[in-house]
């Protein structure tokens, strides 16, 4: 599918899709959205880029194997869950929230970091699966 139109469009779509995915991620806690959907949208951005420009170019763009995202994301989620246990002697996964809201982002809490972890894991898993399949095909 190396058409000129798609190739040109994908260069613009990649950053836009990534922005949307981050928007969806941040929107998550009270509204529809969250880490899982956000991660899927982000991986769609890379998959589209791979369709238009070939897998090699996308890999060069990523600079590292997407599989490495999995442990990183898991670690982020894990730390957000363990933080209340270690720091505050509260049960695992207890939500900790900042008192004051930050402009644009709103109130920050451990739930956001859990979602960020999910976001990274989902990207890692989806991209690893899709890259492996398209490599062997």
């Amino acid at each position: 599918m190396k058409t000129l139109i798609l190739r040109t469009a994908s260069n613009y779509l990649l950053p836009i899709l990534l922005l949307i995915s981050i928007f969806i991620l941040l929107r998550g806690h009270y509204l529809p959205g969250g880490g899982f959907v956000g991660g899927l949208i982000a991986s769609i951005a890379f998959v589209l880029h791979a369709f238009a420009n070939g897998l090699k170019n996308t890999k060069r763009l990523l600079k590292f194997h997407p599989g490495y995202l999995m442990p990183v994301g898991l670690a982020v989620s894990f730390l957000s869950g363990v933080l209340p246990v270690i720091g505050f002697d509260e049960p695992f996964m207890t939500g900790l929230w900042m008192h004051d809201a930050i402009p644009v982002l709103g109130k920050l809490g451990t739930a956001l970091f859990f979602d960020i972890g999910v976001y990274i894991v989902v990207q890692g898993v989806t991209l690893t699966i899709i890259f492996t399949i398209s490599e062997s095909a």
Binding site: M70, P71, L74, F78, V82, E90, P91, F92, M93
Partner: protein, 503 residues
Amino acid sequence: MQQLLLYPLLFQLFLSIFLMFFWKKIDAQKIISIVGGFIAVFLSGVLFYTVWNSGIQTVQAASWEAPYGITFVADTLSATLVLLTSIAGLAVSFFSSASVIPARLRFGYFPIYHFLLLGLTGAFLTGDIFNLYVWFEIIIISSFVLITLGGEKAQIEGAVKYFTLNILASIIFLTAIAVLYGLAGSLNMADLATIIPQLENRKLVEVAAILFLVGFGIKSAVFPLYFWLPASYHTPPSAVAAIFGGLLTKVGVYALIRIFSLIFLDDVFLDDILLVVAVLTIFSGAIGSLVQKNVRKIFSYLIICHIGFMIAGLGMGTEIAFAGMVFYLIHDIMVKTNLFMVSGLIYRIKGTNNVRLLGDLYANFPKLSLLMFIPLLSVIGVPPFSGFWPKVSLIIASLNEKNYVIMGAIIFGSLLTLIIIARLWSNVFWKKGEDLPKRDHFLYFQKMNRLKKFQFLAPIILLAGVSLYIGFGAEHMQQLSNRIASELIDNTQYIEAVMPQNN
């Protein structure tokens, strides 16, 4: 220190994530896994000590109170099983580091292995029935990976059977949860224990109970639903088979114990079904084992046979029976894990697990043979080895109940186990073996360096030591089992620990 309960669980999760960062560095993974295993044993030991001294511990995850949030509960049974899981986990970590070939280790064997231990620990600790389902999913997903890792033809064939039946079991389990939730409107086990006895619709409660029995029955390999186990357990590497044989079916038994001692009580119909299933399980396991020619298949059928003993204890439902069942569970986890490692060691020495071809082991390796003799004697239950004491409790319980069929089945099962193991001993250790052609590219035990030999033998010695302790320190184990049995019989302690506001 309230959070102590979750440390064994969180530590396994931490280990598996940490191991993923060392994806390509196999040697580092081995060291982390073994060191982590020691820490896990320590943490579980601390948890057990705390539960033993200060009673049932609970944590409400994310601070959501009991009937709504997910509760983690460590009563004595859970704490004991978590401790046993970590001990077996440590042993198998050791054993894997030497016996599993690098080609398998390279695809994330250790991270997945610790995910499996995470699932087991979680299943033992959770107090929420839907959360139990989630832990079961973690267990079976990681076990699918472990059983297919390597991708040999026989392995895939075994894995397909394993996969199909376990997915089926999960679906039935999920249906049962749905029915239960529709009936009671709660998923917290302690909450269910208070609601279910008051429900009017007994028939539907019974249906839910039967669904649970079928779902967990498949997972714990009881009578009509056991055939996936011998079809799949001999295919993966012996280290994987060891953790599967030691713990995977036992987690099904644990779930049955929890459900039928906490939620579905005093149902004569169900108890009868359990007893019938138990007798048939003992018979089919024992007779199946009798005709097998592969060491690991023999052990696989023995697992089924001995699951029957535990189900029998559960079906009788008296305090002595529960004590015997729990004692048997403790003994069985240690000894079955060890037996599969022994089969792995035999395979490494001779290059085959076929009983017809094996032989001469005692003549060539007298000390090793004596070491392997310990788990074999334990599984038979020759006094004073560990299998003997729980059977005494079970037989006393069946005498008290005047249930001579159960008593006969237990004696029959023990007798056949004795015959099977005696024949195995004479065939594998005493008989003059065939001259086996030397296999190329196969690392025989005799040619290993000292470190590798140590890695092979240390876990077997460790678990044999634990088995010996269970046998010779039977008084302590009996105290422990009696306490667990009394907690299981009187479930108010459990309910009160989870939901103190009700009283």
